[in-house]
């Protein structure tokens, strides 16, 4: 480019951009090992708690160390039209002129559970091309899907003091999913009492650690950054996460089978008759092969 961007950086960005397009079209991930000290962090949490803002703050620290950052953000596709509005870049605007904060928006394209089918291979591809810090931001809401743990080393649950009433509902998902819980917007009223509610809901030997964070005044960013760099990847739930990943793939295949009008009509006929189990078996027989 004509401005401050170096050709070598531009080449690195271009290479990843093209490789991710191939992965999205079903090509396998690029082989290769990850850079020394690399990390893959998944951020889950209800919409509006500030996941993109937290990523942006962590990206700033990574860039100060000279590390490259890749953000893979997923937004939902319409199940009716297949279209999608992908808006996660807007909140990463602080890095808009820095080529080495790479932001790629993925549409979920019918993949259930908050990721896109291409995300696991996209992560591997970014690591193989030498990107140091990978952040995955799934679709907001429906936060108890463990598939994210199949491709992230560390899962961060981001909440805000306004998430109060959700804590009990989230409890089972939190315990299985999060390695670290962050209470963002800690400058807001009620943050301390929310943290206490959270900690009492999470009591137990396997409970994840909780941290307070406020991006505008910088509270907790350095501590979170350090925690993410020293946290050991949790492997005990990896098999559960891999199984969740393959189940999501089966659902995506079933959705593709339903795009055949004959299959759709056959399944709907059984459903109208109240024969749900038979409808499911019919759909399973029609899963696309190859």
């Amino acid at each position: 480019m004509t401005g401050s961007v170096q050709d070598s950086d531009l080449a690195k960005v271009s290479k990843l951009a093209k490789a991710l397009t191939e992965v999205e079209h079903g090509h396998p991930a690029l082989p290769g090992s990850r850079p020394p000290g690399a990390s893959v962090v998944g951020l889950v949490g209800p919409p509006g708690v500030g996941k993109s803002t937290v990523i942006s703050a962590l990206a700033t620290r990574a860039r100060q160390r000279g590390e490259s950052v890749a953000v893979l953000a997923v937004d939902p596709s319409s199940p009716i039209t297949g279209g999608a509005l992908l808006g996660d870049r807007i909140r990463m605007n602080a890095h808009g002129a820095d080529p080495l904060v790479f932001v790629r928006s993925f549409a979920s394209r019918g993949h259930p559970g908050g990721l896109a089918a291409a995300i696991p291979d996209a992560v591997q591809t970014a690591l193989a091309l030498g990107w140091d810090r990978i952040f995955i931001e799934p679709v907001g809401g429906g936060q108890n899907d463990i598939e994210i743990a199949s491709c992230a080393d560390i899962v961060l649950l981001v909440l805000s003091p306004e998430s109060g009433d959700d804590v009990q509902a989230l409890k089972a998902g939190i315990l299985e999913l999060a390695d670290i819980i962050v209470v963002n917007k800690a400058d807001r009223p009620g943050a301390q009492s929310f943290l206490r509610v959270l900690q009492s809901a999470l009591a137990g030997p396997t409970a994840p650690g909780c941290m307070m964070l406020s991006v505008p005044d910088g509270t907790g960013i350095a501590e979170l950054d350090e925690a993410l760099r020293t946290q050991k990847p949790v492997r005990s739930r990896r098999d559960a996460a891999l199984l969740a990943s393959v189940m999501n793939e089966v659902v995506a295949l079933a959705r593709r089978a339903l795009s055949d009008p004959a299959v759709r009509a056959g399944v709907l006929r059984l459903m109208h008759d109240g024969r749900r189990a038979e409808a499911a078996e019919r759909l399973l027989r029609e899963l696309p092969h190859g």
Binding site: T2, V5, L10, V13, G83, L85, I90, A97, A107
Partner: protein
């Protein structure tokens, strides 16, 4: 699946129109990436590169469309994206349309363009990625 980048270069702060367009294109089955207000030509090219989009749409209501368009086209070219069509919408006087096309703009939709014309144009775009 057509991937579209929509951007507002320069200083104009009105994004109602581009948001309506983003929703229209989503409902027509496109994957639409909106970058927000006040983007520099260099940032727009970087976003188009990272997102590897098939087409770049610029919305301009400020009157600075001649200068900004030339800058965006130059930045896209130097990012290696000279092959991606650029489409312009907004307050564009009729006498500037031919000038923008002469710069290399693929299509201009001035105020008053019809929904069908816009959607048909986007639907007719081919993916930049060759079928393998």
């Amino acid at each position: 699946m057509t991937r579209v980048l929509l951007a507002k270069p320069g200083l104009d702060g009105h994004d109602k129109g581009v948001k309506v367009l983003a929703t229209m294109l989503r409902d027509a089955g496109c994957e639409v990436i909106y970058t927000g207000l006040h983007q520099t030509p260099e940032r727009i090219a970087l976003a188009a590169l990272q997102e590897d989009v098939d087409v770049v749409g610029l919305s301009m209501l400020s009157g600075a469309h001649m200068e900004l368009t030339a800058d965006v086209l130059r930045e896209l070219k130097s990012a290696g994206l000279g092959d991606r069509p650029v489409v312009i919408g907004g307050n564009i006087p009729r006498h500037d349309i031919a000038k923008l096309e002469a710069l290399g703009v693929a299509r201009v939709f001035p105020g008053g363009s019809s929904y069908d014309d816009i959607i048909n144009w986007f639907s007719g775009l081919a993916s930049h990625r060759p079928v393998s």
